[in-house]
């Protein structure tokens, strides 16, 4: 306790220099917490939205289906060997996908036609709008819902009509008019950009792919069943992709972003730690007589080193306290309002909202505190090691070893 009190008094005696170091370190601390919170928030938001809008908790897809290769779509459709109660249940949502062209305002736009059950409730897609067209329109056109991105790129609004052209299972062209029943807003661009959602049974009739499906979105209860463990033959050799694999893309991107953020955080931390290091070197140089006096009064070298190391480390503790004073209100404010994201930020195909709400977990804050304290301890100890080589008589004279 004496060591700590002595160190604290010495540090306070340094005045402005101490507070300058503490301020810089507090900025680094808060910025690290903010960056980590931002990425954790994005990750959490992206995963939650992707599960709600696109993937559910698993995907059972036709063996030929490759979501990154639209040319596989022509052959990737069939009927899986699933038990009827699973297919008919609410925990497996069939989606049929076909390539098509749309002609909004006389422009050719390549699109993906996706068939979905209008009565489904597994995904957040407002598929019930597909049943909302008034009589008279419903009989003559195909109801469709699109996302805001698709609506903007194609120049379509709710109630607009446009012609779509597709090929059926035999490769024969067909074309009909669709009416936009509604435009939804989503953070998940992979259910929006270049896609047109229509009733599943209508798409099956249009393409001649009766009762066929490209993939099933699996609900939380069914994803946890034993059906997916063991032989694929149990579900007609279709491919089951669990949630962890479906989330891999998001996690990989967040990890890559974390790498970039870590470089910025490390630079900030280095600047702050360099200031502490310099202060320590200067203290030991200027306070040689003081060190000699400690030793002459009976303090061991290790104890003197401890005093100087604690002095340096208290910078970190003060920085955390100062950071808490101005950082907590600021970070809380950012959590309430979120960080606005630029319009083009979801072009890479990953879910990202208009605003990202940072998520500060206790584990993340504690690990950042530990990082700052331990690195401060190390940079404080390194110059203090010199004291071990000092002779008390030489130190009292103020002569360096």
């Amino acid at each position: 306790m004496l060591t700590f009190t002595l160190s604290f008094k010495n540090l306070m005696g340094n005045g402005k220099r101490t507070w300058l170091n503490v301020s810089v370190l507090s900025v680094a601390f808060v910025v690290i917490v903010f960056f980590n919170g931002l990425l954790d928030g994005w990750n959490k938001q992206a995963e939650t939205d992707t599960i709600a809008w696109e993937t559910g908790y698993g995907r059972l897809s036709h063996p030929l289906y490759d979501p990154y290769d639209p040319y596989t779509l022509a052959d990737a459709h069939g009927i899986p060997g699933l038990p009827q109660e699973v297919i008919a249940g609410e925990q497996a949502l069939p989606i049929l996908v076909a390539q098509a062209s749309a002609y909004p305002n006389g422009r050719l736009v390549n699109i993906m036609l996706k068939g979905i059950d209008p009565a489904q409730s597994l995904l957040a897609l407002p598929s019930r709008w597909l049943d909302s067209l008034p009589e008279g329109i419903r009989e003559t056109t195909i109801p469709a819902i699109i996302g805001k991105r698709m609506a903007e790129s194609a120049g379509l609004e709710a109630g607009d009509r446009t012609v779509i052209r597709w090929r059926d299972v035999n490769g024969t062209f067909d074309a009909r008019e669709v009416t936009i029943a509604g435009i939804f807003r989503t953070n998940v661009p992979t259910v929006d950009a270049g896609q047109l959602w229509i009733p599943l049974e209508t798409l099956r009739q249009m393409t001649g792919m009766y009762k066929e499906t490209t993939y099933f979105v699996i609900g939380e209860e069914l994803a946890g069943s034993s059906l997916w463990i063991g032989d694929k033959a149990g579900y007609g050799k279709w491919d089951y992709t669990p949630l962890e694999v479906l989330m891999e893309d998001i996690e990989n991107v967040v990890e890559a972003k974390k790498g970039g953020m870590m470089v910025i955080s490390a630079l900030l931390l280095c600047i702050a730690l360099l200031a502490i290091f310099d202060t320590q070197v200067l203290s030991i140089f200027r306070r040689q007589k003081e060190i000699g006096t400690y030793m002459a009064l009976g303090m061991t070298r290790a104890k003197v080193i401890t005093v100087f190391t604690i002095e340096g480390t208290i910078h970190a503790l003060l920085a955390i306290l100062l950071g808490a004073v101005w950082g907590i209100p600021l970070l809380a404010l950012l959590r309430n309002y979120g960080i606005p994201m630029p319009d083009m930020s979801d072009q890479a195909g990953l879910a990202i909202g208009d605003r990202v709400i940072p998520a500060y977990s206790m584990l993340m804050i504690l690990s950042t505190v530990l990082l700052v304290v331990i690195t401060s301890l190390i940079v404080s100890y390194m110059p203090a090691r010199k004291i071990a080589k000092m002779q008390p008589t030489q130190a009292l004279k103020g002569k360096l070893v």
Partner: protein, 248 residues
Amino acid sequence: MKTSVLLFTLISFTGIFSLQAQESNEAATILEKVDKNLSAQNRIFESSMTIHGRRTSRTITSKSRTRGEKEALTEYLSPASEAGTKMLKLENQLWIYTPSADRTIQISGHMLRQSVMGSDLSYEDMMDDRKLTEVYSAEVIARDTLRGERVVLLQLTARSSDVAYPVQKMWIDAEKFVPLRQEMYARSGQLLKRVDLFDVRRIQNRWFPMRMVYRDMLKTGGGTEFTVTSIAFDTLIPEHIFSKASLR
């Protein structure tokens, strides 16, 4: 009295049926003559394709060699950015060689449905040389004049379900037996594409249109103009031309 009514009815029905049969035969004969003009065992032609976009137009020239309906090699001659690019079609597969990358890419059958260089033609449209009589059954639905020429309007209905356009209408020059206009319809009856054919010339004992304007009827724009600058039918094409070795 009853006997004469019965006889009259019988003669009338027989007359109608025989008239229908005659028209059906006539349509089939016309289609055969069209096939004779347009189809060939093999052909070599140079052409220019002008794609009229919403803002600009661009022209691509090429030299093509085709054998039957399943083999074709096209080499782009200009513009400089496309020159040297070659496309080889064998059966339902397509290989494209790009000289700038010095790479040959094999593309699956579905790629044949995509647009050629942003034009209104798909690879299928360009390379499908199946005889009309093999794919469609024909019916005379009208006689008219088009651009000052006497034409017979045929409606073609696909015989099988694996045809891109289930219904076509064709305005055929009643003397030269060459289509002057062709319209392709979707299964729903929606008009998808229209081809206007011009400049019909006599080449090697057949009539052949040297200029064609393709239009995607669902899209705005000036369409794609395809002009044959030179053509030779049934000439000897060496075997090695239709092999991957000829791409590089």
